[in-house]
């Protein structure tokens, strides 16, 4: 599984985490087919007045290995492939870091201007800035007294 982190360190915390995950799994089954499958990469999305921002942790990748585009004004797609770190001539003691190709498609809560998207990649963190369309920007409505 392609993930770049997991939660701490103490066995008690790990057991608590496991219990939470099992509870969550059963909760999702109770509501129908689980939709909360671990999608990669995990995304944080936030906004200000001008734009939507999306952030993903993709350690070990290069910006030109990633394909980022928006279709239909609100479907953000991130595609890429993470390669294995070394060849097979080594003796492996641990292999926890995943590799392989991935595609993530998310529906954005607002329409964005697909031509003006900027992506930045620094220290393994991808940040995408997506300016909102004029129609989606907040407008201040002045109230006139009559």
């Amino acid at each position: 599984m392609l993930m770049s982190r997991w939660l701490p360190v103490s066995p008690w915390e790990e057991m608590a985490q496991f219990r939470r995950e099992m509870n969550r799994l059963f909760d999702t089954f109770a509501q129908g087919w689980p939709t909360l499958a671990a999608a990669y990469p995990a995304l944080n999305i936030w906004e200000d007045e001008e734009a939507l921002y999306a952030e993903a942790e993709l350690p070990g990748m290069e910006l030109d290995e990633l394909e980022i585009y928006v279709t239909g004004n609100d479907q953000l797609t991130i595609k890429g492939e993470r390669k294995r770190s070394t060849d097979n001539n080594w003796t492996w003691h641990r292999q926890e870091r995943g590799f392989g190709s991935f595609t993530r498609v998310v529906t954005l809560p607002l329409p964005v201007d697909a031509d003006k998207i900027e992506a930045k990649f620094k220290n393994g963190v991808l940040t995408i800035r997506m300016p909102k369309t004029e129609a989606a920007k907040p407008r201040k409505i002045t109230v006139t007294a009559n």
């Binding site: 982190r5 701490p8 995990a42 939507l52 350690p59 926890e96 220290n123 393994g124 963190v125």
Partner: protein
Amino acid sequence: MSQNALVQKERKEELTPERMRNAPTFSPRVDICENDEELVLYADLPGVEPEDIDIRFERGELSIYGKCKPRHQGTHLLNEFEVGDFYRAFSIYEEVDADRISAELKNGVLTVHLPKSDAVKPKRISVKAS
């Protein structure tokens, strides 16, 4: 008494210090592999600047601490991961040449090279024809 105090001090140093910053600490995912010459450790530390990484090797223990600066302020719409520091420590049982340990960070992946000391390297013995 003085000897006792020394022992206690050493014990205290071995404990992981508590963090004063209220940020979560994550255990980074690692790959560790080995050949005749060295052990190599790869760790995913996304968002950590090279100057914020602290790698120590003492008493056979390799510890990695990466401090991650807080990012993105604004109204959150989707939150699938948290940003926090990274910490993980390993006991290394191989004889490692501590002076030649080197590390590099590229695109959020830390690579630590731990060269084996000459005493444990396998030696090839050439056989001469008589």
